[in-house]
Symmetry: C2
Subunit: 536 residues, 2 copies
C-alpha cells in the first residue's frame, strides 16, 4: 500500500476527518479504539446490531459478552479499578441500561470511569411508543455524571470522544452516550479525536502545610483517613513514615475501591461497618485529616444512633480530594514533618497458619491468607463472613483488595471479570456470600467463556446474615416465622457447584479447613475459573 493511502486513512491529525466512508456505528467504534477505549462489555439487542456489525470491520476492540447487564457494568468497574482507564459497555435501550444501573451505582461511588453506549430507537421511531420505548436519559441520570443522546450520525464520533473525555476526567465519570439506531446506520463524517488526557490534578500545598501543622500540634490526636490513590503501596509507605514520626493513626474508610495489602506493606485498620464498633475506634481523635476520603458517616441510620461517626469537637481537615495526587501530597507531608524511611520500625514477621479442622470465620480467613498468591487481586463481597479476613491477610503475599463502594450487592462476581481482563497475568480471588452471589450469578458464564483466572469462593451460610444482624440493629427484636422467611436462604439449599457446572465453571464444595486448603491450592494453581462453595 503506497504511503499516501496510509496517510489518507490516518485520522489522527484533525478532530473529524471524512476520508473514508463509514456509518455512525463504525465512526464511534473507531473513535473509541483510537481514544484508548478498546474493551467493550456487551449485552446488545436489535438497536445495537450496527454497532456489533462494526466490530467486524474495526480491529482492536475486544468485546466480552455478558448474559445479564449487571455483569457488563460491574465488569467495566473492575476494569477501571485495575487499569485506571475506562472500558465501554454496550446496553440495549432503557431496560438494558436499567439492568446495569445497580453496578453503575457501585462504580460511580468508586469514582470509576466508564463509557456506556446505550442503544435507542431510531429518532423518528421514538414518538410511536413501541414496546421498548422509555425515558432513557431519565434512567441514566441518577447513575451517570455525563449523559448525552447523539442527534445524528455526523455527531456520533464527536459525542463518543466527549464521552471518553468525561470518563477519563479527574475525578473520572460514568459517561452515558445514547445512540439512536439511525445515527448508527446513517453515514458519518469520520472519526473524532479524544482531547488529550488531563494530567492527574496536583494537590494544594496549603492543605498539606495545614495538615503538617495539625500533626505537629497533636500527632497522637490525629487520624489520617485515606482512600483512593493514597492506598497504593507508595501512598501507604509514606503514611507509615508519617505515622512513625508523628504518632498519628492511619486508617481507611469502611470500604475502599482498591488497597495495596500483604507482607511488607503498611497494614492499616478500616473503620468498622457496625456502628457500635466504629464509634469507639474514632472516639480519641481530635483531628481528622482527609486524604481523598470523606468525613466518615454511618452506612445506614439506626434509631437513636448518630449518622456522623467522629466524636463531638473533632475537627476535619481536607488534604486532598478524589482525583488529586495524594501520593505527591503525602510525600510533601512527609517532608514537612521530616518523616523518613528510617523512622519506621521493621515489621515483625507474621507466620501464615494453615488451619485444620472445622470451618470457622477465623480458620476460613487463615486458609485464604495462606493461599493468596503473589500479586493476587482480591475482590471482597464476603460481608459478614469476611469481617475476620483483614488481620490474617495482612501477612499474606502482596495483593490488591477491592471492595463494594455503593453497597448494592452483586458487585463482586462481575467486578472480577473486569479485573481479570485488565490484568491477565494476575490471579483474581472473589470472596462472596451466598446471598450476594445470586444477584449476578450469570458472571460465571463469562468467566468460563473468556477462560479468566478467577477463583470464586462462595460462603454458604444459608442466610442474609447481614440482614439478620440489621434486624437486631434497628431494634426490631427477635424475628418471627414470616420475618425469618425473608432472611433465610435454606429452603431450598442453593447448590453453587451445580450452578457453576451449569455455566461451565468447575466447582467443588468443602466442609472443613483441610478440604478448603486443598481446593484453594488447586484452584490457585490451575488456569481458568474455579468455584469453591464453603459450606458453613
Amino acid at each position: 500500500m503506497p504511503r499516501t493511502m496510509i496517510g489518507q486513512m490516518d485520522h489522527s491529525k484533525s478532530p473529524v476527518v471524512g476520508a473514508k466512508r463509514m456509518n455512525g456505528a463504525e465512526s464511534l467504534v473507531r473513535t473509541m479504539v483510537k481514544g484508548g477505549v478498546d474493551v467493550c462489555f456487551t449485552n446488545p439487542g436489535t438497536s445495537e446490531m450496527h454497532f456489533v456489525a462494526a466490530l467486524d470491520r474495526v480491529p482492536g476492540m475486544r468485546c466480552v459478552l455478558g448474559l445479564f447487564e449487571g455483569v457488563v457494568t460491574g465488569a467495566a468497574d473492575g476494569y477501571f479499578r485495575m487499569k485506571g482507564t475506562p472500558a465501554s459497555t454496550l446496553l440495549h435501550l432503557g431496560p438494558g441500561l436499567a439492568n446495569g444501573l445497580a453496578n453503575l451505582h457501585n462504580a460511580k461511588k468508586a469514582n470509576s470511569g466508564i463509557v456506556n453506549i446505550v442503544g435507542q430507537h431510531a429518532v423518528y421511531h421514538i414518538g410511536y411508543n413501541a414496546p421498548l420505548t422509555s425515558d432513557i436519559e431519565g434512567l441514566a441520570r441518577p447513575m451517570s455524571s455525563w449523559v448525552r443522546t447523539s442527534p445524528d450520525s455526523k455527531s456520533v464520533a464527536a459525542d463518543g470522544a466527549a464521552a471518553i473525555a468525561a470518563a477519563k476526567s479527574a475525578p473520572p465519570q460514568i459517561a452515558t452516550l445514547i445512540l439512536p439506531a439511525d445515527t448508527a446506520w446513517n453515514e458519518a463524517d469520520g472519526i473524532a479525536e479524544v482531547p488529550a488526557e488531563q494530567q492527574r490534578a496536583s494537590y494544594s500545598p496549603q492543605a498539606v502545610e495545614q495538615a503538617a501543622k495539625i500533626l505537629h500540634g497533636d500527632g497522637e490526636g490525629t487520624l489520617l483517613l485515606m482512600t483512593g490513590s493514597a492506598l497504593s503501596e507508595q501512598g501507604l509507605a509514606l503514611a507509615e513514615r508519617i505515622a512513625a514520626k508523628t504518632g498519628c493513626t492511619v486508617m481507611g474508610p469502611t470500604f475502599r475501591p482498591k488497597m495495596a495489602r500483604g507482607r511488607g506493606r503498611f497494614s492499616i485498620d478500616r473503620i468498622h461497618y457496625v456502628i457500635e464498633n466504629a464509634l469507639p475506634m474514632l472516639a480519641k481523635f481530635r483531628h481528622i485529616v482527609l486524604v481523598e476520603s470523606d468525613d466518615p458517616v454511618a452506612f445506614f441510620a439506626y434509631p437513636n444512633k448518630p449518622s456522623v461517626l467522629r466524636p463531638e469537637g473533632c475537627d476535619v481537615h481536607r488534604m486532598t480530594s478524589w482525583g488529586e495526587n495524594s501520593v505527591a501530597a503525602l510525600e510533601a507531608l512527609a517532608g514537612a514533618v521530616k518523616a523518613s524511611a528510617k523512622d519506621v520500625k521493621p515489621q515483625a514477621v507474621q507466620e501464615l497458619v494453615k488451619p485444620t479442622g472445622a470451618l470457622t470465620h477465623a480458620s476460613i480467613a487463615q486458609s485464604i491468607a495462606y493461599a493468596i498468591p503473589e500479586n493476587a487481586i482480591l475482590v471482597d463481597e464476603s460481608l459478614t463472613t469476611g469481617r475476620a479476613f483483614f488481620p490474617p491477610t495482612a501477612a499474606a503475599a502482596p495483593h490488591d483488595w477491592l471492595q463494594n463502594m455503593g453497597g448494592s450487592i452483586g458487585f463482586s462476581t462481575p467486578l472480577s471479570i473486569g479485573a481479570a481482563i485488565a490484568c491477565p497475568d494476575r490471579k483474581v480471588i472473589t470472596m462472596v456470600g451466598d446471598g450476594s452471589a445470586m444477584y449476578t450469578i450469570q458472571s460465571l458464564w463469562t468467566q468460563a467463556r473468556e477462560n479468566l483466572n478467577i477463583v470464586t469462593i462462595v460462603f454458604a451460610n444459608r442466610i442474609y446474615q447481614i440482614l439478620r444482624g440489621e434486624f437486631d440493629n434497628v431494634g426490631a427484636g427477635e424475628p418471627g416465622q414470616r420475618a425469618n422467611d425473608m432472611l433465610r436462604l435454606d429452603r431450598p439449599t442453593l447448590d453453587f457447584v451445580a450452578l457453576a457446572k451449569g455455566m461451565g465453571v468447575p466447582g467443588r464444595a468443602v466442609t472443613n479447613a483441610d478440604e478448603f486448603n486443598k481446593a484453594l491450592a488447586e484452584a490457585v494453581a490451575e488456569p481458568g475459573p474455579r468455584l469453591i462453595e464453603v459450606q458453613m
Copy 2:
C-alpha cells in the same frame, strides 16, 4: 374480649384512626392488607427491616422472597395479570429498585397495577451521601405512573392507601412509594382506608355506533384489532359473532398481556413480529377499529422500512381505550350489527397430534399443544422458537396465554411465579429461550421455595437467534467472528438441568419429540416446579 374492644380495633369506618399504638411500618402493612394488597414479593435490605418485622405482627400478608429484584417485580406483574388486583413489592433503596426496573417497564406496558415499597435512608441521613444514597424518585419515574416519598411516620398509612388507589385505578398504574427508614420506625397514627375501587370505566356508545357504521359500510375491509379485556373468552366470543355477521377480520397486536385460547374459543391471528410479514397481513384493510389496542407500529425501526404498519389511506377508529369495558362495548356492537351466536359456524374439530422423531419448531409446538392441561396458564417468552406455536395450540385444551409487553427479556420466569401464586389450582407452563432465561434465572429458586406448579421449558438453541435475525434485518450483512461472538451462546454450553438443580428444581434435558412428550406429561402431572431443557 368485650365487643367494645373489637370496635376500637376496627379502623374500617374512618380514613386514619389512632386507637392502637403502632409504628409507620406496621401502619403501612395493616393498611395494605385492609386495602386488599395481601401478597408482597420481596428482596429487602436493612432499611426495610422494620417493614419485615411488622410482617410478624400483622396476619394476612403473604411474603414471597426473590433472590434478585427482577424476579420480584416480574412476579408482581404476573400476579396482577391473573388476579386483576395489585400485589406489592419490597425493594432496597435505589439499586434494589433499579434491579427491578426492567420488569416494571414490562408491567407498565402491560397496564398492570403494582404497589412498590422502596426503602430509603432515614430522612435526616440522606444528606450525608452514604454509599447507598441515590436519586430514588428519579429512578422510579421512568417506570412508574405514581411516585411519592413519605415524609413522616404519620403520613405513611395515607400514602400507602393512595398508592393502592393508584395501582387499582383504570387503567391500573405502577405506584412507587418510597419509605424513609425513620418513617417506618417512628410512631404512626393508625391505618388508612383505601378509597372504594373505581368501577371499571364504561365505554362510549357513540364510539360503538361509529364502529357499527364502519362495519355496515365495509365489513370486509375492516380489521377489529383487540387486546386487553376484549381477549377474554367472552370478548372473543362476541368478536367471533361480529366477524361472522359482518365479514370483518379480528386480530390481536403482536403481543398481548393475556388472551383466552384453545379448543372452542375463537382463534384469532396476531400481527406478525417480522415487519415483512406484518405489512401484507394489514395491506387489505381500509379501516381499523381499535379495541383497547393501539395503532399498530413496528417493534423496531429498520433502514428504509416504515414504522407505521397500516396501509396508506387506512383510517383508524378507536372504539375502547385501555381500562374501558370492552366486553360491554363488543356486546353493544354485536347488537348494533345484529350479530348473534347463530351466525357463527361450528368450528371444525382439529385433532391434536403427538409428534415423534426430531425436535423441530413444528414438532415442539405439537408436543406443547398436546400436553397443555385444562385451564393452564402459558407464559410465552420463546421468541424465535415460539413463532410456530400459535396455530397448533389453538386446538389445545382451553388456556390463557401471557406475553411480554415491554420487550425487556427475562420476564417469563418471574411472571410465572406471580401467575402461580394468583392461581394455585392452575398449571403454569413457561416457554423461554435459553438467552432470555438467563436474565432472571434466579426465579427457579423461588419456584422451588414456594413449591409452585410451574413447568419451565427452555429452548436451548445456543444463540440469541432473534438478534441473528435482526442482524439481517438491519442490513448488516453476514456476521464475522467478533459479531458472532456477541450473538452465540455455545461457548460454553449452558446446562439448564444443572442450573435448576442448583436452585432446587428437578429438571431433565430432551433431544427428541418422544422424550419431550414424556417429560411434558410427567411435569404436567406432578405438583411443584419442573424444568425441561429442549436441546435443539
